[in-house]
């Protein structure tokens, strides 16, 4: 016999199912990857599973864009999207794919290094789900704001303590889904470790001379506007920093700590022959001191809380009412990549990579990121 509380249970259940359905549409929408328009330098688009077949068809497999010149030379790998909540990292890789044209050597670009991390975002951070740019033709392109870590749907549960496999170093349990604590990876590890292994395999198989991992950090973090270099990469990074100073771009050079394990600049330098560096720009939308976190903060980098923090001497970088825009952050990454490629030619004669078409820093500031994005062909629009 149907009782009164069964009626209320039915109503409550129906509302709950409707709410779950609405949430599902939003969450599942996060899994659809935006179109990337290959530029004039792209000669091939491969998958990371080409170097580590066990990744094929899974959440960790990701596109590898191969840009090569007519002249033989060295090889360079750019890792964008290691942390999908650091938008200048993904965007810098994207602008390389859509604009760069190597004259000599080969440039490999992975825009979504942790592809799984792009399929969700971090709860309780209040971050926007996406950010948009207006292109020169008036159209718009939107990109998702992801999470620092692999989606728990793809790798769950987290241990209380994460033990880095090759060193035994203990870290916080949630770092088990951070790919920049997983290198050099392992074949039978977690999804994150397997993706890290795939990238190390790519570096070994293609004899990558220089690997550049792109990041952003908060203004109160000491390592910001910096190049972090493995000891074998220090001479090359020093030359690049000098080149940036000549462009009036102030940047610090940090040695890769020997006791901080699992990161690209340590493990890829130790376990492969590549020269490994990591770049950090300054992004106030990631900081703990930030105010309202929305698309405007991600793009403009303007934040009154950080202005106050700077007045109190709490920051490692100047911060004023102009903020630190996405153009500034992407421009710094691209200028540094250009200088690193140039320095590679001095470090390894005959293994140089000459890259034309990289959007210049001043042009990015003046015209905006949207001016260097290609319109998405009508057939590829959602």
């Amino acid at each position: 016999m149907i009782q009164r509380h069964h009626v209320s249970a039915l109503v409550v259940s129906a509302v709950a199912v409707a709410m779950a359905a609405a949430a599902s549409v939003s969450f599942l929408g996060h899994s659809a990857m935006e179109t990337i328009v290959p530029g004039p330098g792209v000669k091939d688009v491969r998958m990371l599973s080409d170097w580590f077949p066990a990744l094929a068809g899974g959440a960790g497999d990701t596109e590898v864009y191969v840009l090569s010149g007519d002249e033989p030379g060295g090889s360079m790998l750019v890792l964008g999207g290691t942390h999908p909540n650091e938008p200048a990292s993904f965007l810098s890789a994207l602008l390389l794919i859509e604009n760069a044209k190597p004259d000599r050597g080969t440039l490999y670009v992975i825009p979504r290094t942790n592809a799984s991390g792009f399929t969700h975002n971090d709860p309780q951070e209040g971050a926007p789900t996406s950010f948009s740019f207006t292109l020169a033709d008036g159209s718009a392109r939107s990109f998702r704001y992801g999470s620092r870590a692999t989606n728990p749907i793809h790798q769950w549960p987290d241990p209380d303590v994460y033990i880095h496999a090759s060193s035994g170093q203990a870290l916080s349990g949630n770092e088990t889904r951070n790919i920049n604590r997983a290198y050099p990876g392992r074949t039978d590890g977690t999804l994150t470790e397997r993706v890290a292994y795939g990238i190390a395999q790519l570096i070994r198989a293609e004899s990558i001379d220089l690997t550049v991992d792109l990041h952003e950090a908060s203004p109160e973090y000491p390592v910001v506007n910096a190049v972090v270099a493995h000891e074998r990469a220090m001479p090359l990074a020093s030359n690049a920093v000098l080149g940036l100073e000549m462009q009036d771009l102030s940047i610090t050079l940090e040695p890769s700590p020997r006791n901080l394990r699992g990161l690209t600049h340590r493990e890829l330098g130790d376990s492969t022959d590549t020269l490994a560096v990591l770049l950090e720009t300054c992004n106030p939308s990631q900081g703990r001191l930030r105010g309202r976190t929305d698309e405007a903060l991600v793009l403009s980098g303007k934040d009154a809380s950080y202005m106050k923090a700077f007045e109190l001497g709490r920051l490692y970088v100047p911060f004023d009412g102009d903020g630190i825009s996405i153009e500034t952050r992407v421009g710094r990454h691209l200028a540094t990549i250009g200088e690193l490629a140039f320095a590679l030619g001095m470090e390894k004669p005959g293994r140089d990579v000459e890259i034309g078409g990289i959007p210049p820093y001043e042009d990015l500031i003046a015209r905006g990121v949207g001016a260097f994005l290609s319109p998405v062909p009508a057939a590829d629009r959602e």
Partner: protein, 47 residues
């Protein structure tokens, strides 16, 4: 390990739904429904 955790999650979801349908206080039914939503999304591998 992931499958073990998913099985635990599914079991808790079933108990929560059972509680929702046997509970007589509609406010506690609402509480059970709110608990069930994230469990359901995890079991279905949506979030």
């Amino acid at each position: 390990m992931t499958y073990v955790y998913l099985a635990i999650c599914a079991a808790v979801l079933l108990l929560t739904v059972w509680n929702l349908w046997t509970e007589k206080d509609w406010r506690k039914q609402c509480a059970a429904a709110m608990v069930a939503i994230p469990l359901l999304l995890r079991v279905l591998l949506i979030k």
